[in-house]
């Protein structure tokens, strides 16, 4: 029984984290049809910026709401600046080129971002652990969970609801969905697709940075944290269906629970689990769980 609770809670915490780092990637995938490898760089930037802000804030006056606000500020600031620079300064020159070129240019951007990070912050470890302990703990039987971990679930739910509302209940959201569904048709009916592309990319980047910002208090922040995240986030996006937000949600939950179950029941499988799920899903459904319908032409 306590095992089940453990798997469920760990799985959901893990799923929330996965969703938070993957949601921006899938959003960009949906609108721009590109796989943004630089997402990993944004994650790292978000983490570094958060740690910096938190270290500037007087430790005595750091409360939970303040630290969450700092994370949000860091994510929005960094995501907007870097995202805009990438899209306006780099990506727009290669729109319309081969898919592979688009992917690789983001890969190059990722390499560059990695070293720019080192240029700005140096190759030292920085940390922002304070928010992790600020929220305290919750005990369930013999298990103790960190409230910060649990709060990730809340944030993930908020993001999901917020996105759902923005995409289905606002005019701009509806137009964006039109762009996702059929780019050319959207162009024909007069939607400024270019501007939606830029905005979406920046929003995606902000989510990427937010993922890093929220992770910052849990990990020690150092060069190289982005490279692992890309492949994990990418796996979640692919499992869910590239460009599908419900897909990313379901993919995260699936992978999160599978991973938690593996840790508790079959620790040897843990490293694999995400790729096993990914291979299995792709082998059966190449588009992933929720593929946005593609129009097939003769």
């Amino acid at each position: 029984m306590s095992m089940l609770v453990a798997i469920l809670v760990d799985g959901l915490v893990n799923a929330s984290w996965l969703f938070l780092v993957a949601v921006g990637l899938t959003l960009v995938c949906g609108v721009m049809r590109i796989l943004n490898i630089a997402h990993g760089g944004l994650y790292a930037f978000g983490a570094y910026a958060t740690a910096t802000l938190i270290s500037w804030w007087p430790a005595a006056r750091l409360t939970s709401p303040v630290s969450f606000a700092l994370m949000l500020v860091a994510a929005v600031g960094v995501g907007a600046v870097v995202g805009l620079a990438l899209e306006r300064g780099l990506l727009r020159f290669v729109y319309g080129r081969d898919e592979v070129v688009l992917v690789l240019i983001t890969f190059a951007a990722f390499l560059i971002l990695e070293d720019v990070l080192t240029l700005i912050w140096g190759a030292t470890v920085i940390a922002a652990y304070q928010p992790y302990s600020l929220l305290g703990r919750t005990s369930v039987g013999r298990l103790t969970f960190s409230n910060y971990d649990l709060s990730l679930i809340v944030v993930a739910v908020l993001v999901t609801v917020g996105l759902w509302w923005a995409l289905t209940r606002t005019r701009r959201g509806l137009l964006l969905r039109a762009v996702i569904h059929d780019r050319e048709m959207a162009q024909i009916v007069g939607i400024n697709v270019g501007r939606y592309t830029t905005i979406t990319f920046v929003v995606g980047c902000i989510f990427g940075a937010l993922g890093g910002a929220l992770t910052a208090p849990m990990i020690s922040i150092q060069p190289g944290i982005g490279v692992e995240v890309i492949v994990v986030a990418f796996a979640v996006v692919v499992i869910g269906g590239m460009g599908s937000i419900p897909g990313a949600l379901l993919g995260s939950i699936g992978v999160g629970l599978a991973r938690a179950a593996a840790v508790h029941l079959l620790p040897d499988l843990e490293v694999f689990v995400i790729y096993l799920v990914m291979t299995a899903v792709l082998a059966v459904r190449k588009e992933g769980l929720f593929a946005p319908a593609a129009v097939r032409r003769i």
Partner: protein, 316 residues
């Protein structure tokens, strides 16, 4: 074809000269470049059919680990035998996976390949048979019974690698002129037309996957023998990404472009590391961005531009 053969001949002579006279590090670099360019050539061939693989490191890794296992478990040290087995193993695995993979196109093809390669990576990290993350030692190669000393080994390695790579590239070049090879472009342009001409798209793609895997397997085995050590990084996604990078840098125009692209890539990397050890990724990334922006058809297109410039100059 004749021009290509001639170019290859000249290249072979140049490499043989390098093997004899160049400093060891350069001969070694060239050997690695030649071996890696096989992997790139395979990617380029798939790319001609519009297929991008994010998981070519799978076959590269299979070739590399095959070399290590052959040497360490069964005491095989012959360079050519190991390369052959590495290539064949990768080919067989590709043939099996091909039944599934050949149904996939575009990003889905890339994704599934990535998933397979990451599975291999995950397995290699865990597996004590394959040395876990510390990896596996590759044997010191012998060459058809000849065992070079420490001083000559690198030179011999370069000659042997060239002797494997250039004939394979020539074969590949010939394949690209064959009906099946020319179908690559046809498939990228219009699969439906290929089907309605009675051509098999799936079988052709399956063939391409196997061909590229054989090349990657051979390349992986030769790089492993050159380096002397194999670790799970050979199957990691960044390795696939790097090969893809070089493929785009090279351009799909010609099989020899793969050699050119790989050389440029390795030279940039070596010098970036020397002059900015902390920022070589920045330099690498920037040069790749610049090449993609200003040389959209790859480095090989420089040759065409040069020719045009010279022609115009000649007319004046």
């Amino acid at each position: 074809m004749r021009r290509t053969l001639l170019a290859m001949l000249v290249l072979a002579v140049a490499l043989a000269a390098a093997a004899a006279f160049a400093p060891g590090w350069l001969a070694f670099l060239l050997a690695v470049v030649m071996a890696k360019s096989l992997v790139v050539a395979g990617l380029v061939v798939m790319w001609r059919a519009g297929l991008i693989s994010f998981g070519q490191a799978l076959f590269y890794g299979v070739g590399a680990y095959g070399a290590g296992m052959l040497g360490m478990r069964w005491g095989v040290t012959d360079f050519f035998l190991i390369t052959l087995v590495g290539a064949a193993t990768a080919g067989v695995i590709a043939w099996v996976l091909g039944f599934l993979v050949a149904r996939y196109r575009g990003i889905f093809f890339a994704n599934l390949n990535l998933a397979f390669s990451m599975l291999l990576f995950g397995y290699m990290v865990k597996s004590s048979t394959f040395g876990g993350t510390d990896g596996l030692r590759a044997p010191i190669p012998t060459f058809l019974g000849y065992e070079p000393g420490d001083a000559t080994r690198v030179g011999v390695l370069l000659v042997a690698t060239t002797a494997v790579v250039l004939p394979l590239l020539a074969l590949l070049h010939r394949f690209l002129d064959s009906t099946a090879g020319r179908m690559t472009t046809a498939i990228r342009d219009n699969e439906i037309r290929v089907l309605y001409l009675g051509g098999s798209v799936r079988r052709t793609i399956h063939l391409l996957v196997v061909v590229a895997a054989v090349l990657a397997g051979a390349g992986g085995a030769m790089v492993a023998l050159a380096i002397g050590h194999i670790d799970p990084d050979v199957a990691y996604w960044t390795t696939s990404g790097e090969f893809l990078f070089v493929a785009v840098l090279a351009g799909p125009a010609h099989v020899l472009a793969a050699v050119l692209g790989t050389s440029v890539f390795e030279v940039i990397r070596t010098y970036a590391n020397e002059y900015a050890p902390q920022f070589w990724q920045l330099i690498l990334g920037t040069s790749l961005v610049l090449s993609m922006l200003f040389l959209p058809d790859g480095l090989w297109s420089l040759a065409g531009r040069l020719r045009r410039v010279r022609k115009e100059a000649g007319h004046v």
